[in-house]
């Protein structure tokens, strides 16, 4: 089955997709322009500063530590959940994906609320490992479960014991998933603003934000932002390549059957449950309990429900505009990418995906410069903030829409043509009719993700517009832990939805045999939760 057409895309579609991609590129392009304006000498001088080198070093070290920790903890966890007969395995599978629902700044705040002294590099590494572990565990579980068990059987007949057969025959099938997951973890850590700020780690995002606040030094902020983007873009490109390679790894669509589970001894069962219990305890139970305790304790100032509702409404309102804009930009790109191939098509798609490599703090910074210098009337307006959300989360919308369109066989549209519909009429009554729920789901995802976006909101929001994320931020800054708790819990509730979607998408993939469609679906699942 092919869902792609080899012919050239219609000019109108291609034009619309190019326009969308150009719009998505605005923050990146303006950042480059801004850095270029500063002149080479100043850029080099900024790069050579000890502070810059130190920042790069801190960010890279933090990233490496968290990735290593995620692999170290994630691979055994994935094996347990994929291959061992752990008590209540399905329940654990849902639980391990849940930390994705806890924004890093909420997790950091929850830990600080228990241990106010927590701070610094290792505290940040600890919390970031807990929240980004699912990026490794979930795809590796899926890869282990979909690996062809014949490989291990053949290895057994060729002289390998059970353990070596797993290591030599099955584990290599999971490496691409582990590598792609590690790259997502790296991207998450590199773009994270909340945890490093709360733990006072001078990583890129915190330094960029600080330089921006100290308004005399905006060139430094821009240069650092560009370095950060370069690193992030490298990670995104690598991740795409690794994911593509994992696909080519499959030789054939062998009849999919699950590998037999390994029975655990009594002691093994206890050990497995303890391992999973500690991980989930640290990643979910402790933070949520901490928030609930703070909520119960209350604060000096009683919870203003009206204020909370207003913040939620503000978050939802701006995010809704951002989501609508993201869907509008995503549709032409997704249609093009789902139906046509070629260098021009992938160039457009890559440009539209630039949001993947743009941390929120970078988009915020670029749009601040852009509005101040070119459109002062738009500076710190709802429109600019919504635009930032649209650019940042456009990849999620494209991913969902593209997989929905790819799931509609083009032959339906062609059949509609032979039954007398015009080109547009045929498209509307088939592809659009069948794909719009997927596109809408993508929009919902953008909405939910934008509601928890912190740094871009801090930088771009109109004065006086408070959202859930900024209210939480301002309360934690003054150590008003009890007052922050309701906002943190509201944010977790919002973020649980995409995490749940990803975990179900991955499970469906594990049991299904329709691989071509699944690849698109899995890509979409990754796009949904990618940082």
């Amino acid at each position: 089955m092919t869902s792609r057409l080899s012919s050239r895309p219609p000019r109108a579609l291609f034009g619309a997709a190019v326009a969308a991609a150009l719009v998505a590129l605005i923050p990146l392009v303006y950042l480059v322009v801004r850095v270029a304006d500063a002149g080479l000498a100043q850029v080099l001088e900024t790069l050579a500063r000890p502070r810059t080198v130190e920042t790069v070093g801190t960010s890279v070290a933090l990233t490496l530590v968290v990735v290593a920790a995620c692999l170290l903890l994630g691979l055994p966890t994935a094996w347990l959940l994929a291959r061992a007969r752990v008590w209540q395995r399905r329940g654990w599978l849902v639980l391990v994906a849940l930390p994705l629902a806890i924004p890093s700044y909420v997790a950091a705040y929850a830990w600080i609320a228990i241990f106010p002294g927590m701070s610094g590099f290792w505290a940040a590494a600890f919390v970031l490992t807990l929240v980004s572990l699912p990026y490794v565990v979930v795809p590796v579980v899926a890869a282990l479960r979909s690996a062809d068990p014949s490989l291990e059987e053949v290895a057994r007949t060729l002289g390998r014991g059970p353990r070596r057969a797993f290591v030599e025959a099955t584990l290599p099938q999971a490496w691409p998933a582990a590598a792609a997951g590690s790259l997502l973890v790296a991207l998450y850590v590199l773009s994270d603003f909340g945890a490093v700020s709360l733990f006072r780690v001078d990583a890129f995002t915190r330094v960029i934000y600080a330089s921006y606040r100290a308004s005399f030094d905006r060139t430094t902020a821009a240069v650092l932002a560009l370095v950060l983007v370069a690193l992030a873009a490298g990670l995104v490109l690598l991740e795409r390549r690794v994911r593509g390679r994992s696909r080519r790894f499959r030789t054939s669509g062998a009849a999919l059957r699950p590998a037999p589970d390994v029975a655990l001894t009594g002691r093994g069962q206890v050990g497995a449950l303890a391992w999973l219990g500690v991980l989930i305890g640290l990643a979910i139970v402790v933070p949520v309990a901490s928030l609930l305790i703070r909520l119960a304790e209350g604060s000096r100032r009683p919870l203003d429900v009206g204020e909370l509702a207003r913040a939620a409404a503000n978050s939802a309102g701006v995010s809704l505009i951002g989501a609508a804009l993201a869907v509008a930009l995503a549709v032409p790109v997704a249609l093009l990418a789902a139906r046509y191939r070629g260098a021009r098509v992938s160039a457009v798609e890559t440009a539209a995906y630039s949001g993947h490599a743009l941390p929120g703090v970078v988009v915020g910074l670029s749009l601040v410069f852009l509005t101040i210098n070119l459109f002062p009337a738009a500076y710190q307006t709802i429109a600019t903030l919504a635009f930032a959300y649209a650019v940042l989360f456009l990849p999620k919308s494209i991913g969902a829409t593209r997989s929905a369109v790819a799931a509609v066989p083009p032959i339906l549209e062609q059949t509609a043509r032979t039954l007398g519909r015009s080109a547009f009429g045929a498209w509307r009554s088939t592809t659009l009719r069948l794909a719009w729920p997927g596109a809408a789901a993508g929009g919902l995802l953008v909405l939910l993700t934008a509601m928890k976006e912190l740094p871009a909101t801090l930088m771009l929001r109109p004065t006086g517009l408070d959202t859930l994320a900024t209210e939480l931020w301002s309360r934690t800054e003054v150590a008003a832990y009890g007052a922050a708790a309701p906002y943190a819990l509201a944010l977790i509730a919002l973020a649980a939805v995409p995490a749940w979607l990803m975990s179900t998408a991955m499970h469906r993939r594990g049991g299904s045999t329709q691989r071509a469609a699944d690849d698109d679906e899995a890509d979409a699942a990754v796009d949904m939760v990618a940082p």
């Binding site: 059987e153 057994r156 060729l158 002289g159 099938q173 790894f249 030789t251």
Partner: protein, 346 residues
């Protein structure tokens, strides 16, 4: 050289039983096909032999060596058994040479070359499995299984994903290669034509039991029961009544029974379509008692032959394979002539 003896084996997954008290002997150097529909338990049997599934009861011997019994269990890595799974299952992360060398001690490069030559893949060691066609993947899977010189090789529907002509060519080559090496081979398949054409003997499995083990010709001409009769080929079954010793009377007239066929006063007699021929009625002299009269009801043309459905004057409809373009048009009067003996089945 090692034969395989499976005795009273029951096996299954979890609490379920797939094989029930199954016994089977495979001679040393023999090529045995295990033929069964999907779900019959044939793959489970293969797993028990390869050591990938521990039976609930019974014993498995390789030659004199007990490899599985209630007290003993030799894991697959110490059985010296080769496995060629469905669609090859090559290790996708290794090259062709890496796959073949997987079961060999380190530094045995010449062996890899020799094995690749054996399966007609000389010079392809550097390729990746993804770069191979389905047939080539199967060749490499066979070389990989043969590399450690196993005593027994298990083939699990290895060619089911290939197209028909390639399948025929590959199985001929494999037959020849294994016969040359003298390796005992067990092929699991649901394709009766494959089983009949490649094997020294065929074991028919149904519902976890062996129904019949015989040479292909015997299986085809004297199936143990009705199910086997229609499973191994197109079957024509006619009500029969004994008229004298070794002869029954049917709608096609009197038919001789295969020597040694069970004698019963009445039953079903089995004929194969190629035993029947049709003759145009006008070609038969008037009053000659030659063949059973009827008229052609339908005809489907297959190129190499046609399947002609004849409605016999005596009642039943019957399908006859007519070679070439032999054109009996619907409505035409014909006689159906029987060649060779039939067998009573139940």
């Amino acid at each position: 050289m090692t034969g395989v003896a499976v005795k009273d084996v029951s096996a299954g997954y979890g609490a379920g039983t797939v094989l029930a008290d199954l016994s089977l002997d495979v001679g040393s150097g023999e090529f045995l096909a295990v033929l069964g529909a999907s779900g019959s338990g044939k793959t489970t049997l293969l797993k028990v032999i390869a050591g990938l599934l521990r039976p609930q009861s019974g014993t498995v011997r390789f030659g004199d060596r007990i490899v599985s019994s209630p007290d003993e269990w030799v894991p697959p890595e110490r059985r010296r058994v080769g496995l060629v799974p469905q669609e090859g299952a090559l290790f996708p992360h290794l090259t062709v040479a890496g796959n073949v060398a997987f079961g060999l001690p380190r530094g045995t490069g010449e062996d890899v070359d020799r094995l690749l030559g054996l399966v007609g893949m000389t010079g392809m060691g550097g390729l990746r499995p993804q770069e191979l066609s389905g047939g080539q993947q199967q060749r490499v899977a066979l070389a990989r299984a043969l590399a450690p010189a196993p005593e027994v090789i298990c083939l699990d529907e290895p060619w089911s994903a290939l197209d028909a002509s390639l399948r025929v060519r590959l199985r001929g080559e494999v037959r020849e290669l294994l016969a040359g090496l003298g390796t005992t081979a067990i092929l699991v398949t649901h394709d009766q034509e494959e089983a009949l054409s490649i094997a020294d003997r065929v074991a028919v499995v149904r519902d976890g039991r062996i129904v019949q083990v015989d040479a292909p010709e015997v299986l085809y001409s004297r199936p143990a029961d009705l199910g086997t009769a229609s499973f191994v080929g197109e079957a024509i079954l006619l009500d029969a009544r004994a008229v004298r010793d070794g002869v029954v009377s049917t709608a096609l007239g009197e038919i001789h029974l295969v020597t040694g066929s069970p004698q019963r006063p009445a039953g079903l007699v089995l004929l194969r379509p190629e035993q029947l021929a049709i003759v145009a009625e006008h070609a038969v002299g008037p009053g000659e008692p030659h063949g059973a009269p009827g008229s052609v009801a339908a005809r489907s043309y297959h190129g190499h032959d046609s399947l002609v459905t004849v409605r016999l004057d005596a009642g039943p409809e019957i399908a006859v394979r007519a070679p070439g373009g032999a054109g009996a048009a619907p409505g035409e009067r014909v006689r159906v002539v029987v060649g060779g003996p039939g067998v009573l089945v139940e």
